[in-house]
C-alpha cells in the first residue's frame, strides 16, 4: 500500500515539473500561433503516457536501484574495502583503486543505456538520418563515452589533479576531431554530451563522487566531489564522433576494396 501512495506522490511531483512546460507549449499554441492542434486527442494521450511513465520510472528507481547503487558506491569506496589505513595522510598509489574504476565504467555504461532522454534523441536521429544512424550504435557509443569519462573522473578524484586540465584537454581533442569527422554528425555528437546525464546517471554518479572524495585521505568532498558529471558530458562527444569516423572509414574501405575486386 505504501508503494502505491509513494507512486501517487511521485506522479504529483512529475505533474508539477511538467506543468510549466505544458503552460508554455499550450500558451504559445493558443495565444500566439492561434491554430488548432492537429490530433489534440492523440497528443494529450501521449502527455498522459509520458507523465505516468516518468512517475513509474522515477518511483522504481527510488525504491530499488538508487538505494542499492548508492550503497554499493559507499561500500566500494569505504576505507576498509580500499585498504586505506587509519590516519593515512595521502591517497597512496592510484592502482589500489582498480575496483572503483571498473565500477565507475560499468555504472556509467549501464545507466546511460537506460537513460530515457538518450533513447529519445536516438529515435529522432534514426528517423532523421533515414536509418543511417542506428539507435543502438549511437546509444552504445555514447555509453562507452560516459563509461570512460566517469572512470577517468574517478581517477582524477583519486589523484587529486585539477579538473580543468582534463576538461580543457578534452575540448582541444573535440576541436581536432570536429575538423576531421563527417560534417553531418557534428551537431548530434555535441548534443549527446548533454543528454547523457539526467535521471538515472546523476544520482549514482554523485554518490560515487561523494564516497570517493570523503574517504580518500587528502580529498575534500566540497571541492573534489564535483566534476564527474562534466566528464560524463564531455567524453560522449568524442566517442560519437569517433563512431562516425570509424563507420565512415569502414564504409570507405569496403568501397575501395569492392573497386579493387572489380578490376581483377
Amino acid at each position: 500500500m505504501t508503494r502505491l501512495t509513494d507512486l501517487f506522490w511521485t506522479l504529483l511531483a512529475t505533474v508539477r515539473d511538467v506543468l510549466p512546460i505544458a503552460v508554455i507549449l499550450f500558451g504559445f499554441q493558443l495565444l500566439v500561433l492561434r491554430k488548432k492542434i492537429i490530433n489534440l486527442h492523440q497528443i494529450l494521450t501521449g502527455f498522459v503516457f509520458v507523465l505516468l511513465g516518468l512517475a513509474f520510472f522515477l518511483e522504481g528507481l527510488e525504491q530499488a536501484l538508487f538505494p542499492l547503487g548508492k550503497l554499493m558506491a559507499q561500500q566500494l569506496t569505504a576505507p576498509e574495502f580500499l585498504g586505506i589505513k587509519d590516519g593515512a595522510t595521502d591517497a597512496g598509489s592510484w592502482t589500489q583503486y582498480l575496483w572503483v574504476y571498473l565500477f565507475a565504467f560499468a555504472i556509467g555504461f549501464s545507466t546511460t543505456i537506460a537513460e530515457p532522454s538518450l533513447i529519445a534523441v536516438a529515435i529522432k536521429a534514426n528517423q532523421v538520418s533515414a536509418g543511417a544512424i542506428g539507435t543502438w550504435g549511437l546509444r552504445i557509443s555514447v555509453a562507452i563515452g560516459v563509461a570512460v569519462g566517469i572512470s577517468l573522473g574517478s581517477y582524477r578524484i583519486v589523484t587529486g589533479t585539477p579538473l580543468h586540465y582534463y576538461i580543457i584537454t578534452g575540448y582541444i581533442l573535440v576541436i581536432i576531431q570536429t575538423i576531421y569527422c563527417p560534417k553531418s554528425i557534428i551537431a548530434l555528437a555535441y548534443d549527446s554530451g548533454g543528454v547523457t546525464t539526467s535521471t538515472v546517471t546523476v544520482p549514482l554518479v554523485a554518490a560515487l563522487g561523494l564516497g570517493l572524495s570523503t574517504n580518500i585521505p587528502g580529498r575534500n568532498p566540497l571541492l573534489d566531489g564535483f566534476g564527474l558529471i562534466a566528464f560524463a558530458s564531455l567524453f560522449p562527444i568524442m566517442s560519437v564522433m569517433g563512431y562516425a569516423q570509424l563507420s565512415e572509414w569502414v564504409a570507405n574501405r569496403a568501397r575501395s576494396k569492392q573497386r579493387g575486386d572489380g578490376r581483377d
Binding site: 501521449g46 516518468l54 530499488a64
Partner: protein, 234 residues
C-alpha cells in the same frame, strides 16, 4: 516492453556482479528490488510510447507553425520561454544549487547563514535558467540562419576556458556540473523535436546537420554563466 527490459538488463547485471562477486554480500530486500525494477520497466515503456504520441508531434507541429507564421520575434520568445521555464523548476538543478551554496558558505565566499545560502542558491538557479533560455534562443537563431554549429560551440569552449582562468576555484566544479544537469527528460525530446522540425520546415536547412545542436548549447552556457555568477558574488 521487451525493449525496455533490454535497456535495463545492463544495470541489473552490473549491480548483481558487484554486489555478489566483488563485495560478496547478499542483495537486501530482493522482493523490493524486483518490484522496483518492474516499475522502471513499465515506466520506460509508457514514456517511450508517450514520446511518439505526444512530445515529438507537438514539438514538430509547433516548429512547423512558427516557421510558417514567419514571425522571428515570437519564435525567439518561445525558444527563450521554453529554455528558461523548463530549467528554473528542474529538481536536479535545485539540488546542485543548494550544494553550491553550502560550498560557498564553507569557503567563506558568502555569510554562513540560512538566508544568505538560500539567496545564493536562488541566484545561481536563476542565472543558470537564464543561460539556458539564451542558449535555446541562440540555437534557434542558428538553425534559421544556417550557421555551422561548430563555430558557436568552439567559441563557447573558449568562453569556458577564459572563465575558468578567472573564476574562483570553488565554483568551477559546480559550474561544470550544472551544464550537465539542466536538460531534463521532458525538455530533451521537446527541444530536439523543435530543432529538427524547424530545420525541416525551412528551405535549405538539413535536419541532420542543422536540426540538432540545441541541447549542446543548453549544456555549454550554464558553465560560462555559472562561473560568472561565482565571480560577481565573490
Amino acid at each position: 516492453m521487451i525493449e525496455s527490459i533490454r535497456d535495463l538488463a545492463p544495470i541489473i547485471a552490473v549491480i548483481a556482479f558487484f554486489q555478489l562477486l566483488v563485495l560478496q554480500q547478499p542483495i537486501p530486500d530482493l522482493g523490493g528490488l524486483l518490484v522496483g525494477t518492474l516499475f522502471v520497466v513499465i515506466g520506460l515503456t509508457l514514456f517511450v510510447h508517450g514520446l511518439r504520441l505526444g512530445l515529438f508531434p507537438i514539438g514538430e507541429s509547433m516548429a512547423h507553425d512558427f516557421a510558417h507564421k514567419g514571425s522571428l520575434l515570437w519564435l525567439l520568445l518561445f525558444a527563450f520561454a521554453l529554455g528558461f521555464g523548463t530549467t528554473v523548476a528542474e529538481p536536479a538543478l535545485i539540488a546542485v544549487a543548494a550544494e553550491a551554496a553550502q560550498v560557498a558558505a564553507v569557503g567563506g565566499m558568502i555569510e554562513n547563514s540560512e538566508a544568505s545560502m538560500t539567496s545564493y542558491a536562488d541566484g545561481l538557479r536563476m542565472t543558470v535558467a537564464l543561460s539556458v533560455g539564451i542558449a535555446i534562443t541562440v540555437g534557434v537563431l542558428r538553425i534559421i540562419k544556417g550557421w555551422p554549429v561548430q563555430y558557436l560551440i568552439i567559441g563557447g569552449y573558449m568562453g569556458v576556458v577564459i572563465m575558468t582562468a578567472v573564476a574562483p576555484k570553488e565554483i568551477i566544479g559546480i559550474a561544470y556540473d550544472s551544464g550537465g544537469v539542466t536538460t531534463s527528460t521532458i525538455t530533451v525530446p521537446l527541444v530536439t523535436a523543435l530543432g529538427v522540425g524547424l530545420a525541416s520546415s525551412i528551405r535549405g536547412r538539413n535536419p541532420m546537420t542543422d536540426g540538432f545542436g540545441l541541447i549542446a548549447f543548453a549544456s555549454l552556457t550554464p558553465m560560462i554563466f555559472g562561473m560568472g555568477y561565482g565571480m560577481v558574488i565573490q
